[in-house]
Symmetry: C2
Subunit: 291 residues, 2 copies
């Protein structure tokens, strides 16, 4: 999931048929298991990665078994999603890389609306929309949660947007953006280190040690996993970010160091994180940061 | 209202008494009239400026009439909020500047909790919280609006966060951030030119000509009125912004030109706005931009 990049083409195989082709819209991000999975997902972890994809229907659907002689040479020997011998699906494969030849053979034996694979315009699916849906559902269930008093419920909901008690708690620990050094409160966002949607409890969502004060650009880069921080305060930049974008956002220094650890200049006001912060940062590095 | 700056001290006078002292928390911003005004605000415009203030109670309240001999020398000759002769209130004054001596005389004749005037910590009132409250109430009334079909209602609500149909409409007109030139969609926000909360109709809220694609920092500066645009595409910077903040946000070029109109370099990808956009920009310059 985490190797997929925006623009990659995906084939969906279920019930022995490839019924849809899709285009990856965004990098995968950490998200709770969708409720729609129901019993089918019972043995899966509650946490995982969500990969937004624009789907387009294949008409008619394609049975790989019918094309197995054509497809056979292009399947990998190991971890193939379809058995090259029998053409049956591999139950253990969830998302596997296949060669572009396989896509061409499938596409030539059916038809679909090309515009479905184009970017922008036609489909409004994006990170913000998907996250807003997930978090909206979580917010409704928090507001209905019997175990929490009203004040806590409202504080947890306000924390979703970095407001209220959560922001106060963060401001007790942090006083400036760790990328720009800005201290002007009206330019700073209280960002969760472990995302609000991934937190399990009210106290995780309200914990000041689970927060940083970041300017809006820095918040966006951190939230999307394009940057992360090491325990000593150094910035780590993902190889998935475009250097020109970083330069235009005013982070030229990060470009120079992008495959290493940027030595944080003193103007950034950084320093070693507290041990409580380090635990959340460790989550961010392994689950949010785009390797 | 619009001359007040964060940190300014305000005295509240009603019923012939000064009952509260406050500290301005944020620059004033455009907002609809609060419903709580009821009949008292019947003849006022529905649109105005909201100035977030941390209030602290005076105990006991102070009657300026009782102190008029002490206060008299410090009241201005024109537009005084209290008549220097009689000590009665001036019904026509809403928010007027008074000398610091008046504050000292009032403060010495009563007591209040000093911490109420300190920044941060104690009080979570800020721009985001106030705007979120206003917009939340508007959203609930839109969801209950009988004249709109369900699809439009949902599109208008999604537009509040720059999503859905509104974003698509903006992307048909704009293709890059007008400050940074960035075209990477995952780094761009679809911002309203005339704020969502100030729009009167669904079509204003969904109109692509009422939008710009901006990177998160640029969106924040534009949304808070720290920058605006002229019809030809030039950036205008408010004298209320701190030059060091602009530099740290990566907008050093704006600092040089901050009291004039920055000549937009070609890399910013700017150009003349369409006439439909110019109408909304004219609103932004007069009602949102901090002079």
């Amino acid at each position: 999931m985490r190797l997929a990049s925006p623009g990659d083409i995906v084939l969906s195989y279920a019930g022995q048929k490839i019924g849809h082709v899709g285009r990856v819209a965004e990098f995968a991000f950490t998200a709770p298991k969708p409720e729609e999975f129901g019993q089918a997902g019972e043995y899966w972890n509650n946490e995982g990665w969500l990969l937004p994809i624009f789907w387009t229907e294949l008409s008619p659907p394609v049975r790989p078994k019918d094309l197995i002689d054509l497809l056979r040479p292009y399947f990998p020997m190991k971890y193939s999603p379809i058995s090259p011998e029998t053409g049956n699906g591999n139950q253990k494969a969830y998302l596997a890389e296949v060669s572009v030849e396989i896509f061409k053979i499938v596409a030539e034996s059916t038809s679909f609306d090309q515009r479905g694979l184009e970017s922008g315009g036609a489909n409004s699916l994006n990170y913000e929309v998907v996250v807003d849906n997930i978090e909206g559902a979580q917010e409704r269930s928090i507001m209905a949660e019997a175990g929490l008093d009203e004040t806590t419920r409202l504080a947890v909901v306000a924390a979703r947007r970095g407001q209220g008690l959560f922001r106060k708690n963060v401001e007790r620990i942090e006083n400036a953006c760790r990328l720009t050094g800005i201290t002007n409160r009206s330019l700073l966002i209280a960002s969760h280190i472990k995302p609000w949607r991934a937190c399990k409890t009210a106290s995780e969502r309200l914990d000041g040690k689970n927060g940083l004060l970041l300017t809006p650009d820095a918040d966006r880069l951190f939230d999307r996993g394009f940057i992360t921080f090491l325990d000593q305060g150094e910035v780590k930049v993902s190889p998935r970010v475009d250097g020109n974008d970083l330069r235009r956002l005013g982070f030229a220094q990060l470009v120079i160091e992008r495959f290493g650890f940027a030595e944080a200049p003193s103007v950034w006001g950084v320093g070693q994180f507290q041990s409580g912060q380090q635990e959340f940062l460790s989550y961010h590095r392994s689950e949010v940061f785009l390797q």
